[in-house]
Structure formats: C-alpha cells, structure tokens
C-alpha cells in the first residue's frame, strides 16, 4: 500500500510513531493522528459499510460529523462500537475493526441488498410482510432484525469507569477555534472565571486545518500561543477532548470529557470519561460550521470527501487523501482545497465550480458552471464523470473528489431549548435564530461569520457583551476572504445520489417521500430515516431540506429544519450513569447492629435503601425456614431481639404538637397522656391510608412518631407540607431522628426480665409502672440515655428500646449476653413478618395505596373524631364506602401444609378463575410454627359476612389452587393477653 503521508508539515509528532491495527492489519501512525488520518496515511480508503445497502464507505470528514468511518475500538468487554475514526486518537496498540458486514469488509455478503435497492426504497417495510399474518414474526422480522445496527455490544459488563462532576463559571466558551479562543482570551484577561471546552484534542478549530496566517504566524501557531496563555491563567480552565453535548435549563450545560481514551495504558484510577455539568452564568457558542456535500450519482464511494476536511488532512495531519483530485464546489471556499492540494504536491485533475464564471488560469483545469456527475470504482473512486455547463461529459481518472456544498453553522446547542434557526440566503445556511437558551450568545462561524478575521472579532465582542466589559484585547490580523456561494444541492442524474450516507438515503428516497405525501421535513425524516443515524445528519440535513423545499415549491425558510436534540454527538450511556452502578447504584443504609449480624449468621435483604437481617442462620439448619421457625418459637416462648432502627422516627415538638397530630392522624393524639403511646393511622387527603405506626408522648410538647421504613421519607415531606403550607399558625417543629437512635424490639415472655438486667435500677419497668403502651426516657448500662417503649408488633410481652447509635452495636451484643440465661435469640425481618401475620397486623403489602381504613377494619378509629383531619372528607366518598369493597381477613388452608402464596386471587369453590368471579387477593402469607399451619392475610369481598366459609386461593401464575377458610385476621392471642402480661 502506498503511503500518503506528506514528507513535511502538519501538527503530528513525527518523533513518536505509534503502531496500531485495523481489521488485523498492522499500521503505523504518529502521535497527533486520528485513526482516520493514520489510515489515510497508510492508503486505506475503505473503512466501513453503509447501513442498508452495505455499500463500501470511506471517510468523508475530519471531525465529529463523520457518517461513514465508524469502527469498533478494542476487543472483548472493552469493545467500543460505532466510534468515529475521525475523532479517535491513535495510541500505541490500538485495535480497530470495521463493522456491519458478513464476511470481510471487502467481500460483504450483505452487499446483495444493494442490488435489490429498487425494492428497498424509503419505507418499503410498511407496505409488505403483512401476509400471511404469522410470517411477520416468524420469518420476516427476524431477518430484518438480524440486519439491524452497525457495531455490536460485547454483552459483557462495561469495565470502564465514568466520573461525574460539576463546574461553575462566569463564562463557558464552547469551541476553541479563532472565535472561541478570542472569547476566552478576552474574558480570561479580564479576570472572569472561564471554562473553555473543545471536543478536539488540539484546540484551534479550523485554524489547525488551514494554511492561513493569523497575525504574523500560521493560524495553528497562533492558536497554540493563545492556548498557552490561557493555560497560564488561574481563572481559566481548559477542557480539551470535551464535547458540550447539551444546553439545559438554568444555564446548565452537559459536557463529556474523554479523559483516557487516547492513552494506551491509562493509570488505574483514571476514569475513561468524565461527565461535567457546567453551570455557566453566560456562554458563548463558538462551535464553528460543518461543511456539507452535494448530491450526485454514486457520490458515496470512498474517495469522495468534504473539501474542507481534505485541507485538514493536508495541513493538520500531513496526509494527502488522494493523488489525483477533482474539487467540486458551489462556493469560494472550495477553491482553497485546490490551492492546498497543489501546494502539497497532489495533482488537481479538475476544479469544478457549479457557478458559471470567467475562466482564469489557475494552473489547473477549471470547469465553470459544471458538476461532477458520477463516479466509478469498486471499493473506492477511480474515475469521475465531469459534466460541463454545456451538458457534455467526460471521464477522468481520479482517486479523490473533494466536495464543498457550503457550510452549515453548528447551531445545534442554540436549539436545545426549542429555538428555531433562521435561513440566510446570502450564505445559504441556517444561523441561530431568536430565543436562544438564556445566557447564550453565538460567535464565529457558528453565527454565520465565515472569515477568520470576522470570527476573531466576534469572539472578542461576544465575551465583552457577556461580561459587560468595556474594552477587549487587540484583534490580530487575519484572512478576510470572500465566502460567496450560489446554492447548488444536487446534480441531475438517473442513478442514486446520496444525501444521508450512513442510513443510505438518496435523492430518490426524498422524492418518493414527497410523492407519497410525507412533505413536512419531520415526515420526510421519519419516512426516509434521513438524519437519524449516528451523525444525526450533520452533513445531510440541510441539503435534504433544500431538496424537499424544491419539490414542494416552498422556500427553505418555510420548510424549516427538523428538531435539534441533545446530545450534540453520541454519549456513552455509561458516562451518563457515572459511578452509581453495581453495589453503588444507590447508597446502602446500615443499621447499628449490622456488623454484629454479619458476624452471627445474618443474611441481609434490601428494604428500601436499608440492609436488614432476614434471619440468622445457625449451623445444622437446612434452610431459611428452619431459622425463621426457630426465631419465632424462641421469641414466643422465651425472648427475641430484632433491630427495628429502620422504622422512621420523627420528633414532633412545640406547643401545638398535639393539635397538629390530631390533624394528620385519623385518630386523636392531643388526648394521649404523657408517657403513653398510641397506634395511629395516617391518611392521604384522598382518604386512602398512607402509613401507620405508633406515636409516643414524651412531654406535653414532645411526641415521637414512628413511620414504616418505606414511608419515612414521604411522611416527613408530607408532614412538613402540612406544617408549612397548611397550618403555618401552629407552633410545631419536626425533625427526623431515625439516624439518631438505634432501636431494638425485645419481645417474648422474658423480655422484661432481660431488660431489667440492663435498665438502670432507678427506673421501674414493672407491669404496673410500665404497662402496655407506656413510654419514657430511661438510662441503661450505667447512665446511657435510652428511650423505652412498651410496644408489641409480635403480640408478645414486648418492648422497643432505643439508645444513641454510637451504643447500638454494643447494646445488641449486651442484650444477647444478658439474655443468654433466658435463651435469647436474635430474629430477623422474616420472623417479624410471621409474627405480625399471626397477629393480623397490616403492613406494606396491605397498605398498597388503595386501601381505606375501613378495608383494614379500622374505619371506626376516625369515625367519631371531631374536627377536620387529612383524608376525612374524601374518605366519605361513595366508592370508598361501598359495601362490596374487599376487606382484610385471615385465611387458613384446609390442609395446613398447603403452601399459601401471596398474590393468589380468591374465587368461590366451584367458580372459574375469571375476572367476573374475582373476590379479592391474598396479600401476606406465613408458616405459623405455633399453629403448625400456613396462614394468610388478604382482602375479600363481604369478608366479615363470609367468615368461616371456604373459598379457593387461586394462583395461576404459580400453578396452585388451594381451599382456604375465611377467618379473623387475628390468628394468635386475639384478646391481646400476652402483650399486657
């Protein structure tokens, strides 16, 4: 393969050669090369296949707009599909492979699609594959799906690390071309906090790709100097390799920094990428402009490139993308490519300008008012057909066709908040319109300023205006050339002329869309898929809009653009995800007894963000049921302890605390005596149960409320809403104390005996002094402050004791030691659940956001209460009082060993499992070691009336169907004798 590397020039570091592979072949490039420039330097033109027709494709651009040269970088779990070779820096050992072919890149079997193209036009799939009906899914769709996509995911977990961060600044400058650099210099010198971000690894923008001078030096040298000055300023942050991908509300910009993708072996802790939120008081968009092509027959062959990009390869990378070049332009800028090609020693076969004009001697053949009509070549261009103004054609040998259809300002970020760009006829381009994102202004080519001099000036002025400065720096002298253009979108022809190269959308497809009524640009886009590929039509959209405008006879302005959406270029999902993955997806809340439990056979289960102990395994136990049965039996017969720290705790204080609670609970709390607790049911204002728990009164003006684990956060928010928004006149203060107190249930006949050993002697906890539902402040183990509640969820004689968390670990340990003589055992969430089902206490499964107090058998709690409370009025609606509502009952299988399942539905004994026969559902089940039977709680229509009857618990998805008797939900000790003992 011939080398296309020029012998001198460019911004590459010839002292640092780097070896890499493409499709298994080894090549050399230099530091400063992109994968695309290095491949071109090695004479590789064909770099991929198109999406639909699998046509051979080469690189057309030198930047982020590239539609064709997409590759997979790396292998295995590191494989990174659909990477644009034009932005991937070469590093030593890089492995790249081409995509979307069956067989080799050169001999792709899927290329048959190209031969069928006349049947595969826009939207063909909507019109067929309908008969026979079954065939769509069985035959057609799998074929279509197999052909989908370009690159492939590895299927393995992405091992890369992605970081997130937030940066604040006075001025964010997006793009470091002449406009951006000048804006940053102006702001930086004035002392403002500046962030300058550019997606390229070398700042300078077009200056690096051109051969023009700025001041008295080459443009790239001027850029280097400006960057060095900025780097030395403490108030300026330079973010190279950083794409600002989205402009969001409130001056928040999303930016993706590629931290280590260009490094052969990055340091361990170095993330692959960092996603910054840049919070900017003001922003200057100086993102430049993107060149577009002209549609002509077979304009998609490798070797057809954008003219400006050809210059970039020549000047920045010292690569000649071709040796015999045709340049095709409709504007002045294209001529520079001919100039630079010649300077680089390439043969300019013809300079074709679609604009008629006088012929001058340029030292190469010039065709005015002509066009490139067609190309020939199997895996790349080898001939071009030139069409003269007269219509005559001739064929020339050429391996490069450099095309300029004009430039399109990179207005993308200006539109992210809904603004529409405006069409400017003089430059034949859409420029930023009104209603920019607040705080944003636009400078340079992104604003339609196409000369370097104008860009430099606009950059400085934008910074001055954004920061309200009075003066700015001197503007260096620069090229101020003309940018005349006469729009020319497509060359007449009878073959296919590509507009969107990646998605294979041709002029014919656009014509067909028009013919079939898909005339709005949005319809055209969706019907043809134009602009929907990975490049989002950066080079394709404007020509397509112009073509549609011509077909409909509307102006381009009227036709308008499609909607611009973030991200500006594709961003890895991993980068959006950041570090919150795996075990760190959400924070883990650990209770004070966590380490103790972990050391004593505890198995943990997620409960919201908490980890709670499910059960404590003991050696010899065959499964979790053994552990749970033991824990239940021990607790009911001796004493058990359980960590209940996770329940929400809210200290409610203030002189109106009681009145406040009266309004937020369904039942009264102002009447509760100090030193006593009460069960409370909290409703939402729509009358449905929100949460339940106990509330204890420690002083006239001090209550301690508990919520369920799941509702702790929402309850706090709700109570603050009530306090601040509904009743600001009440004197109430709320504070969560969930994190402050380690709280343990001590339950079972020996619970008092056990606590007596720990509670300091000056506190009397006898049944008389500390009856059921008593509460108070005590001290334990020698003056450690504690809160003691005589509450029982298990139905046994039981307490909950709370100490400040720092003592939590030791208290658990001490309870175990002190309880040894009573046979104490720790118990977990599962045993807790069994005991509450045995007692018929409703919990999360029952409080599913649809149940009323009445459904739970607690309608009476609120019915007598005077005055308004949250949920009172709406609970009185007909539907919530309807007689046929399912109410909570107990269920026992006829066969005690028949394993009940939650989620089963109830039907009558002889009924079919049909919706019209649905009576209700089972919400919680347990094996009761005491009753030696499965038991369940559930909701069933007319439950009270049907008590004692038998129905079926039908669980179709689990394949069970069990006869159950409807019972009271209180299976054990219904009178509550034990807990009062």
């Amino acid at each position: 393969m011939t080398s296309s590397r020029l012998t001198a020039g460019g911004l590459i570091d010839r002292a640092r050669p780097l070896n890499f592979t493409f499709d298994g072949n080894s090549y050399d490039g230099f530091a400063g090369d992109t994968l695309a420039s290095a491949l071109l330097a090695n004479g590789v033109r064909m770099m991929g296949r198109s999406f639909k027709y699998h046509r051979p494709r080469g690189v057309i651009s030198a930047g982020a707009e590239e539609p064709n040269a997409l590759m997979t970088i790396g292998t295995g779990a590191d494989a990174d599909p659909n990477t644009r070779a034009t932005v991937q820096e070469v590093y030593a050992g890089l492995t790249a492979s081409s995509q979307n072919h069956v067989g080799s890149l050169k001999h792709d079997l899927m290329a048959v699609n190209d031969m069928l193209n006349r049947f595969l036009g826009a939207g063909f799939y909507y019109k067929t594959f309908m008969w026979p009906a079954k065939f769509w899914e069985a035959v057609y769709e799998p074929i279509i799906r197999r052909a989908a996509g370009l690159g492939a995911l590895s299927g393995e977990a992405d091992p890369a690390e992605y970081e997130h961060g937030v940066r604040h600044c006075d001025l964010l400058v997006i793009g470091a071309g002449p406009a951006g650099l000048m804006a940053a210099l102006t702001a930086g010198r004035a002392g403002a906090r500046v962030v300058l971000a550019d997606e390229d690894f070398t700042m300078g923008g077009r200056l690096n790709g051109e051969s023009d001078q700025v001041g008295d030096m080459p443009g790239s040298a001027w850029a280097r100097q400006a960057v060095a000055e900025l780097a030395a300023m403490a108030n300026v942050t330079l973010l190279p390799r950083t794409t600002v991908f989205g402009a969001y509300d409130g001056g928040v910009y999303g930016a993706l920094e590629r931290v280590s993708e260009h490094i052969a072996k990055p340091k361990d802790a170095l993330p692959r990428q960092c996603m910054w939120k840049i919070v900017a008081r003001r922003a200057v968009l100086a993102a430049g402009a993107i060149e577009r092509s002209i549609a002509f027959d077979n304009n998609d062959r490798p070797g057809v490139m954008l003219a400006g990009s050809v210059r970039t390869y020549l000047n920045r990378y010292a690569v000649a993308p071709g040796h015999r070049a045709v340049v095709f332009t409709n504007n002045d800028d294209g001529w520079r490519t001919a100039r630079d090609l010649r300077a680089a020693g390439a043969d300019v076969v013809a300079m074709v300008d679609s604009r008629p004009g006088p012929l001058k001697d340029h030292g190469f053949r010039v065709i005015r008012g002509g066009a490139v009509a067609d190309t020939v070549g199997r895996h790349g261009v080898d001939h071009a057909t030139l069409r003269h103004h007269s219509g005559t054609e001739d064929s020339v040998v050429a391996d490069l066709i450099a095309v300029s259809g004009g430039w399109s300002p990179a207005v993308h970020l200006t539109c992210h908040q809904g603004a529409k760009p405006l069409w400017r006829d003089d430059i034949a381009a859409f420029v930023p319109g009104p209603n920019l994102p607040p705080g944003m202004s636009v400078a340079g080519a992104a604003n339609g300023d196409y000369s370097t001099a104008a860009c430099l000036k606009a950059g400085a002025e934008a910074a001055i205006a954004a920061l309200d400065l009075t003066t700015g720096p001197e503007i260096p002298h620069a090229e101020d050339g003309p940018t005349e253009i006469t729009p020319f979108w497509k060359v007449e022809g009878c073959k296919r002329a590509w507009v969107d190269q990646q998605n294979d959308v041709t002029v014919k497809d656009i014509t067909l869309a028009h013919q079939e009524g898909f005339k709005s640009v949005e319809h055209m886009k969706r019907y043809t898929t134009l602009g929907m590929a990975t490049d989002q039509g950066k080079t394709a959209n404007v020509p397509a809009i112009a073509l549609m405008a011509a077909l409909t006879g509307r102006s381009i302005e009227e036709t308008g653009t499609t909607v611009f959406r973030p991200p500006y270029t594709p961003v890895p999902i991993g980068a959006f995800g950041g570090r919150h993955r795996g075990k760190h997806f959400h924070p883990t809340r650990l209770t004070p007894s966590h380490d103790w439990a972990a050391a004593h056979g505890g198995d943990f289960i997620e409960s919201g963000l908490w980890l709670r102990t499910q059960w404590f395994r003991k050696s010899g136990e065959k499964g979790w049921r053994d552990s749970v049965d033991r824990e239940v039996i021990t607790t009911r017969s001796k004493v058990g302890i359980c960590d209940v720290t996770t329940l929400g705790k809210i200290d409610v204080q203030g002189t109106d605390a009681g009145a406040f609670l009266d309004r937020v609970y369904q039942n009264a709390f102002s009447t509760l005596k100090v030193g006593r607790c009460r069960y409370g049911l909290m409703l939402r204002d729509d009358g449905i149960v929100m949460d339940d728990g106990t509330c204890a009164r420690f002083a006239d003006d001090h209550y301690v409320m508990t919520t369920t684990t799941a509702q702790a956060g929402p309850a706090m928010r709700h109570l603050e809403f009530c306090r601040q928004c509904l009743w600001p006149d009440l004197d109430v203060q709320l504070i969560s104390t969930t994190e402050q107190w380690a709280q343990y249930a001590v339950a079972g006949p020996h619970s008092r005996d056990l606590l007596r050993k720990l509670v300091d002697k000056d506190h009397d906890i006898s049944n008389e002094a500390y009856p059921y539902m008593a509460c108070g402040e005590v001290t334990v183990c020698g003056d450690v402050p504690a809160r003691l509640f005589r509450l029982s969820f298990s139905g046994e004689l039981a307490y909950e004791i709370a100490v400040p968390c720092r003592y939590g670990h030791d208290l658990f340990d001490v309870l175990m030691k002190a309880g040894a003589e009573f046979g104490v055992e720790p118990y977990g969430l599962e045993a807790l659940g069994v005991m509450r089902v045995e007692k018929g206490h409703a919990a999360g499964n029952e409080l599913d956001g649809r149940t009323t107090a009445g459904d739970l058998g607690m309608g009476r709690l609120g019915s007598k209460k005077q005055g308004d409370y949250i949920g009172k009025t709406m609970a009185g609606r007909e539907g919530l009082l309807a007689a046929d509502r399912a109410v909570m009952m107990g269920f026992r299988p006829k066969d005690p060993n028949a394993q009940l399942t939650a989620g089963a539905h109830f039907i009558d004994q002889t009924a079919e499992p049909r919706m019209s026969n649905d009576l209700g559902w089972m919400s919680s089940v347990a094996w009761s070691p005491e009753l030696q039977s499965y038991i369940g709680l559930g909701f069933i229509k007319n439950g009270e009336v049907r008590m004692g009857e038998t129905v079926r618990a039908w669980d179709g998805v689990r394949g069970t169907d069990i006869e159950v008797e409807i019972t009271s939900p209180h299976f054990i000790d219904p009178e509550g004798e034990r807990l009062r003992g």
Binding site: A157, E516, T588, G956
Partner: protein, 416 residues
C-alpha cells in the same frame, strides 16, 4: 391503493412512480358530523373505527402540527396488557388483541412485534405483587408467567447477576407484549381513515370551542371555524388546554417524559425489559437502536423536552441492571407532553357539556391503548354509550371515589 409485496415488486421494476400519496390534503369543510381534535394515535384510530365500525365518515381530524407529531410519534412503543385492576385490564387486553390483527385490518405494516415484556422484580414483596397482577391478567384472558431468578438469567444473561445492589429475584413475563413501530401506527390509521373519506387537516390548531348554551357545536381553528355535531377531544398532553376552551378543568396535569435512543447496534435484547428497582426500561428497535426511558421529569411542562438529572437517573438504572449497555452511546433524547391523570388511568367519557367527548389521561401508557382507545371512543361518540371494556374510565370516578389507581400513589399525577 393496496400495499403488498407484489405492488412493491411492480413499482420497483417501474421506477417507483406509481405510489400514491398516503393521504389527501383537504381544505376544512364548514361542517362535519364529528370533529376529532388531535391527529395522534388516538385521534386517528378513532377516525378509523368511526368509519369502519359505525360507518361515520363525515369526519375531520384536526391537528395543530404534522400528523403524528405528538406522543404517538415520540413514545417508546411498548405494548402490553399487564394491568392489575379490573377497570383497566380488559381494556388493555382488547387493545393487545386489536394490535394482533392490525396490519391486515388497515393494510399497513406497523411492525407489531410480540417479543415479550419482562418486568424484573427485586424482592419477595414485589414478586408477590407481580403474582397478584399476573393472576389478574390470566383471569382477564391475557397471558402471564412468573419467572424466577434463574429463568430470568436464561432469558437475559447479560443483565447484572453479579454485583447487584438490588438483586433480581425474578420477573413477570408477558410473551404477547412487545413493541410496535410508532410512526407506522399514526400513518397506517391515517391512510386507512383517509381512504374512507375522513379529512385529515394538518397545521390546524384548535383555538376555541363554539358553545351554544350547554352544547359544543364546533371549534375555532387557525384555519377558520369548523362546525360539527360532535366534537371529540384526543389532544393527549394538551387536553387541559383544550378543555379550558370549553370552560372545563380536568383531573389532569401535563408533564414531560423523556425518551432515548442509542446508536444502532446488532441485536442484543429480545423484547422489552423493565427494571423494578430503578427508573429504566429498554427494548431494541428494528433498526438496532436501544430505545429506552424511565421516569418523568416530575415538573409540569408543555415543552417537549426535559433536563439532565433525569437522563442521568435513567442511565444509572440502565447501568445498574444492564451493565453491558455502558458503551452503547445515547444518540438522541427527546420529550413528550404527557396527560398525567390523578389516578394514572385514562378517561373516555362524555364531557359535562353536550356534544363534547373526552379522551385523555393516558399518562405514559397510552400508545399500547391506541387501538382500543380508538375503538371505544368511536363507540362512545357514535352511540353515546361507553363500550363494555371502558365502562370504568369515567370522568366522575374521582368525585365518586372509584379511582383506578394501579400504582396506589393517590391524587398526585407525577407519581403515577
């Protein structure tokens, strides 16, 4: 013109010059029997079923933008009938059955793809909840399977089974669930309705209602006044605005839901997967893009665009459950305006004003409802009686206390 493979062959061989426009571009007439406000999925389907089932064709669908510019053209295309409550389940099951025969019905390939929907669960309680739902589905004649962890692993081995914060304990699978090509639904119904004589009027925004006494008799639009015997609202995210023109307030808030698509990738996931411990669900389009979404942005919005925190939240969920997705690049994000109702379920009912019919409250689940919604709404418009699967979707259910609250979140629409 009938579409078929033969037609494609014939056209392909003759330069594709014979394809006719999929719809006419009529000028609005002065009066119609029925005006449907909104050329989204529901409006267009309603027009089709009015024509097909009731022979009513003197109908106009008026659309403020281009046909399908609303949510039908920007949703994540999931279809399923895995609902719990009797107010919903038969309706969505009817819809799924209609999807199953849609292509033949309207002679348009909307690419109904029943590759299954798998809802992952992460705790016993969640699994029981899915069992309850699965059983409700079976009882309504739908299909449902409860999977355990190993069955999920067999189906989707690339999910996170290694260092999960919330381990996958199983899932609820509906094999008949899947996805449908969103745009094709709008275009297919539009083409079919147009062929029966329905006028599809684009770029025509309804700006007011014409009221005579307690009766609505037409609409003001940006293309003039159009009168009608019946006016039917199918304005989705803008229902609140349109209702206000008739002097009504609805139990609806408008919120933005974002959706995302990745670059095209070779097939990796079969059907739809939803993560039960975070905000993330995903499927893969025919073109290879991973189409995914999560929760709404939470704030009221008519802007059709959202913000970065939710993008990050969704992608965190993605990485937590499907860490192989990390290197897939997010290609495009967008938003749609959702008509979030107060119980998360829709309303198909007559308005308190004669001549006005309401179809709204679809939240982020109305795409799958498109056929049944069109069917039931057409029935209501034509007969003034609710269709049997939509009898519970009444407007007065909130006042009377018959909410259909699948999620149990109560009267806060952004929580549904």
């Amino acid at each position: 013109m009938s579409y078929s493979v033969f037609k494609i062959l014939k056209e392909g061989l003759t330069g594709n010059r014979g394809w006719a426009p999929v719809w006419r571009e009529p000028q609005p007439k002065a009066e119609y029997d029925v005006i449907i406000i909104g050329g989204g999925g529901h409006g267009l389907a309603t027009a089709w079923y009015l024509a097909r089932n009731h022979g009513i064709t003197n109908v106009a669908v008026v659309e403020r933008g281009y046909l399908g510019s609303g949510n039908v053209g920007r949703n994540t295309t999931v279809i399923r009938s895995n609902y719990l409550l009797p107010g919903n389940e038969p309706f969505y099951e009817q819809s799924l059955k209609l999807w199953e025969g849609l292509e033949q019905d309207i002679n348009y390939n909307a690419m109904v793809s029943q590759r299954g929907i798998l809802n992952l669960c992460h705790s016993d309680a969640q699994r029981d909840d899915y069992a309850r739902r699965g059983n409700a589905m079976l009882m309504a004649g739908a299909d449902a399977e409860l999977l355990d962890r190993e069955a999920v692993r067999a189906m989707a081995p690339y999910l996170n089974f290694d260092d999960e914060r919330f381990p996958i304990t199983g899932g609820l699978l509906q094999k008949r669930g899947g996805s449908v090509r969103h745009d094709a639904v709008a275009w297919g119904y539009a083409r079919a309705a147009d062929a029966r004589g329905v006028d599809l009027i684009q770029n025509c925004e309804v700006t007011g209602m014409i009221r005579e006494g307690d009766r609505i008799v037409g609409v003001e639009t940006t293309r003039g006044t159009i009168r009608a015997k019946k006016v039917a609202m199918a304005a989705a995210g803008r229902s609140g605005q349109v209702a206000a023109m008739a002097g009504l307030r609805l139990p609806i808030e408008s919120h933005v839901l974002q959706a995302f698509v990745s670059e095209g990738l070779k097939p990796i996931i079969p059907g739809v997967i939803t993560f039960g411990a975070g905000h993330f669900y995903v499927s893969q389009s025919d073109k290879g893009g991973l189409v995914f979404g999560g929760d709404i942005d939470m704030y009221n919005s008519y802007a059709q665009r959202g913000n970065l925190p939710v993008v990050q939240d969704v992608c965190e969920g993605a990485m937590a459950v499907f860490p192989a997705i990390g290197k897939a690049k997010l290609l495009r994000s967008w938003g749609g305006i959702m008509d979030m109702s107060m119980d998360g379920s829709p309303i198909i009912d007559r308005a308190p004003l004669d001549g006005l019919y309401i179809n709204c409250g679809w939240c982020y689940g109305g795409f799958k409802a498109t056929p049944a919604s069109g069917w039931c709404f057409a029935h209501l418009i034509a007969t003034d009686q609710p269709y049997e699967t939509a009898t519970k979707m009444r407007l007065d259910r909130f006042e009377r206390g018959y909410m259909i609250d699948e999620k149990g979140m109560g009267a806060q629409p952004n929580l549904h």
